[in-house]
Amino acid sequence: MAYASGALAQDATLQRIADALDGGSNIIAPRESGLVASNAYAIGDQFILGGKLYKATATIAIGDTIVTEGVGANCTESDSITEQVGDTANSKVTFTSSDNDATTEKTSDGFTSVATMTSGETHAGLFQKISKMFLNIRKLWNTVGSTPLENGQTLTSIVSGGLTANNAGAHNAVYRGKSLGSSVTSAQYAEIDAGTFKDLYIGDYWTINGVNYRIAAFDYWLHCGDTECTDHHVVIVPDTVLDTKAMNDSNVTTGGYVGSKMYTTYMATAKSTIQTAFGSANILSHRELFTNAVSSDKASGWAWYDSTIDLMNESMVYGHEAWASYPQYETAIDKGQLPLFSLDPSKIIAFNNGTRAYWWLRDVVSGADFAFANHDGNASNSYASDSLCIRPAFAIYKP
């Protein structure tokens, strides 16, 4: 068995193929059994010696000594697969394809199971598996759609964060309950200011000075007020109460909420706690209709006031008035249940040092009573001079 070299390389290749088909030599290169060349090689010709593929760096004649390294080396180890098998750009393979771009195929339910690819498989087998996976990709693409995901969202973030658009309406409908850290970041204030509220959801909370301040609503007061509220905002309610005080020093409701000592004096500590936590400049001031007169055991007057941090009414907590003596005056612009309490009613329960608390609401119940949220979850009322807890609501915004 002898192979030509140089100008006769093509004939030599044909000879190698013929040998391979005949069960003889390797199709890639002739084999040498020892360091004495049994074939002649031109520069660049390849041969196999000791299980390794070599390439002649000098002309090697039959009978020459093959020197693989050091002084007088006439060959070097060849490790380029391209040199071994050549360019496969135009190679073809025959296989059974599972790929199909037909609508009926790519819209069909289910994942087409594909066995794992393993070493040693034939090209036909590999390509068949690849074609099945391509069909799966077509199904996935058909499911996901061709529209780019919004605002850099990933499928994972959408699934974990809810299928939401970034606006108040959508975010008011999704409860998440995630810790947002110990302060409101500038990026979060930017989202609030834009009204997009990205990565802010109902139930999310900041823990500041030991108090969980939880997101209760987005843009609850937007466009309300005798002077319109135009700032996007996030309404916040603390999980725990901030103080304990009476509504009045005696059992009267004279002057309604505005006439109460709670409104004029007793909220000071709670307000200070909140202002310290968020900074006074970040607390939204908006206009509220509060009761300011009571007659015949009922609220009978209301007016617009600036409001920053105030007690909630029954509507905000329960979604309706319960004990209010004159619901029309009590409801005012706070006419809907805060999403926090509708999506997770357990959050209506507030705690005071680990114990369920009784906390005031601002609704006038009679000439002697105001409404409050009972520790056991029921809507109730109590004498104005009783000391119950203070759990106000407020909103933050970017000034």
Binding site: G255, G259, A293, S295, S296, S300, G301, W302, A303, Y305
Partner: protein, 97 residues
Amino acid sequence: MATIKFNNGITINAEENGNCFITDSKPAFPSDLSNITVTTDEESYVIANGEIIEAASIDGRYWFTIRDVPETELAREKVDAQITYTAIMTDTLLEDE
């Protein structure tokens, strides 16, 4: 601003907020509080049987609202007064409710 005109012709000008009226000091209200005409920037309406309700003040001025007492409440007050008068005249002791 609102103008409140009473049945005897007395007129009070007041700032309006909600259903409240605000004056710098407490006005001298007439005893006849029927047929009070209130005219605001947006509307004009009549209160048939008024009752002055003092509201909480947050600024040192006088805040009040005028409640329109329903006919049913007036009728009950009238009946209660008649019962009380009759009891007094007949020396009858009325039991508490």
